[in-house]
């Protein structure tokens, strides 16, 4: 198994509160890893530590190692900006940047110094198509991204991550505020995307993990209780906590 991320003895603190405890996890490439667990279990914190978005929380502290392709991303000589280009992120709140749809998608590539109009247009079409949004917006690329509906904005956020051609896509409850149709479109997009990308999907919706994830990890109170092939987690979990959670006995 070819692993993209290797997480070794990860501990994470906000002030003195330990929010992630001794996480050890290998994340295989070109698969979808679903992370489930009740709110407050550290799923989002874990996800944000993978592209160092927690750096902006000045009271946070991290211990242990996170290796991306064998390199420690918390090493002092690791380039954070390059990391975020390689590990893209889609947030829970679907928010387009205050600019046109086109500009939203080319934001990342432009930062990377790509200015060739043809290349950019090509990227826009490719990314929006992969995010299942192209047909809905192709005639109004110049209008503000903020005019789109919530579901469309979330697919736009996905498209703008895809336009950077990352290795890994992190999704933090991307469908939490969306209707079933938008959710289905995003799930369809993810199923296609895993051929090229490693996807890590945090979700409050256990059924969503069951539908799209190849592997599923269960987090509880900052600990990773169990990880395994999705089917096995949902049919014969090893730990009683996992069983309680997926059968809806708590959380």
């Amino acid at each position: 198994m070819n692993s993209k991320f290797q997480i070794q003895n990860l501990n994470f603190y906000f002030n003195s509160e330990k929010v992630l405890k001794e996480i050890n996890l290998e994340i295989p490439a070109n698969k979808i890893l679903g992370i489930i667990g009740p709110s407050g279990s550290g799923k989002t914190t874990f996800l944000r530590s993978l592209n160092r978005m927690n750096d902006f929380e000045i009271t946070s502290r991290i211990e242990g190692k996170i290796l991306l392709d064998g390199k420690d991303i918390y090493n002092s000589d690791f380039d954070v900006v390059a990391l975020r280009k390689k590990v893209g992120m889609v947030f829970a709140m679907p928010v387009a940047l205050p600019m046109s749809i086109y500009e939203n998608v080319v934001y990342g590539p432009k930062l990377d110094g790509i200015n060739d109009k043809n290349k950019l247009s090509e990227l826009v079409e490719k990314s929006l198509s992969a995010a299942y949004l192209w047909d809905e917006v192709k005639d109004r690329l110049k209008t503000s991204g903020m005019r789109l509906s919530g579901g469309q904005q979330q697919r736009l956020c996905l498209a703008r991550v895809l336009a950077m051609e990352p290795d890994v896509i992190l999704l933090d409850e991307p469908c939490s505020g969306l209707d079933p149709i938008s959710t289905a479109k995003i799930e369809d997009a993810l199923a296609q995307l895993k051929k090229e990308y490693t996807i890590i999907l945090v979700t409050n919706n256990t059924k969503q993990a069951a539908r799209v994830a190849d592997n599923t990890a269960f987090f509880l109170m900052g600990e990773m209780i169990e990880v395994g092939v999705t089917k096995q987690i949902f049919t014969s979990p090893q730990k009683s906590e996992t069983n309680d959670y997926i059968t809806g006995r708590f959380g």
């Binding site: 592209n51 978005m53 900006v81 947030f91 940047l97 205050p98 600019m99 990342g108 930062l111 990377d112």
Partner: protein
């Protein structure tokens, strides 16, 4: 019993609120009634566009002072706006929030220093430096601009910070997660989203600069002429009123009120532009 006192409170509050508004109305009426007749008698064109100000000869042209006021205000903008906006971005984007919460009130204290103190520092420290290094009398357009530029910093910084902090955090995170640096995020996203508030802060600072009197009298030199360089001594509209009102009589006195009318109109225009800009920001949110 309770109903009556509730109504009484309402009346008293209404009266106080009304007295504030009526103060404004009375001031406006007073200035207009004293100033407008003069403008009609003397002629608007001669008043605004002649630069001969010789009250003893009956010549009342304020063009030189309008030009001086505009230059001093413009100079204050050149000094204050970039400094203030840069400081606002530094404090809101690069510095941890708790440090910003200490520094921002400290900067706002600048507004609590009496303007005569600014003037004093200008006379004692700034003017000699300018005289020794660049020549001229020292008390000049340049010193007035620098002093005013510092005086408007709290206005610009504090309103700019408020409007930058009003930009949703999700914009920043979205941009940073796409591999932008903090600086790229500021130039490509945050400035755009907080633009109207920043413009409003600059216009309010401008209004403050054009209306400031005491500090300007002390550092600008006060001779009535159209400045040819930043080192020339100038007299602003506000300085003119303050300097001559104590002894002016008759037509001269009316001319000073008319000068007040001109200032009043300029400041009302600036404030309306600022409040429109601020309201636009509110509506967008």
């Amino acid at each position: 019993m309770k109903l009556i006192s509730e109504k009484g409170v309402q009346r008293i509050l209404m009266l106080t609120a009304f007295s504030a508004i009526s103060a404004l109305l009375l001031i406006a009426l007073f200035i207009l009634s004293e100033g407008l007749p003069f403008i009609f008698k003397y002629g608007l064109k001669d008043f605004l566009f002649s630069s001969e100000w010789q009250p003893n000869l009956g010549k009342f042209g304020i063009f030189a002072m309008i030009v001086a006021s505009l230059w001093v205000t413009f100079g204050a903008m050149i000094v204050g706006a970039p400094l203030g906006v840069a400081c606002a971005f530094f404090l809101s984007e690069y510095v941890p929030r708790y440090i910003m919460r200490i520094i921002k009130p400290t900067i706002e204290l600048l507004a609590a220093i009496p303007s005569v103190v600014y003037g004093f520092i200008g006379v004692m420290v700034l003017a000699p430096i300018i005289r020794d290094n660049f020549g001229g009398p020292g008390l000049s357009l340049l010193s007035a601009s620098i002093i005013l530029g510092i005086m408007i910093l709290p206005t610009i910084i504090s309103i700019s910070i408020d409007s930058i902090l009003a930009v949703p955090q999700s914009y920043r995170e979205g941009s940073l997660a796409l591999g932008a640096t903090i600086w790229q995020t500021i130039t490509m996203v945050t400035i755009k989203a907080s633009k109207s508030g920043i413009i409003a802060s600059i216009i309010l600072g401008l209004g403050r600069a054009i209306g400031e009197t005491m500090a300007v009298i002390m550092v600008a030199g006060n001779s009535v002429n159209i400045p040819h360089s930043a080192l020339d001594s100038v007299r602003t509209l506000t300085a003119n009123i303050a300097l001559e009102m104590s002894y002016a009589t008759g037509l001269h006195r009316q001319a000073l009120f008319a000068t007040g009318v001109v200032l009043f109109v300029v400041i009302i225009i600036l404030n309306s532009i600022a409040s429109v800009a601020i309201r636009k920001r509110m509506v967008k949110k």
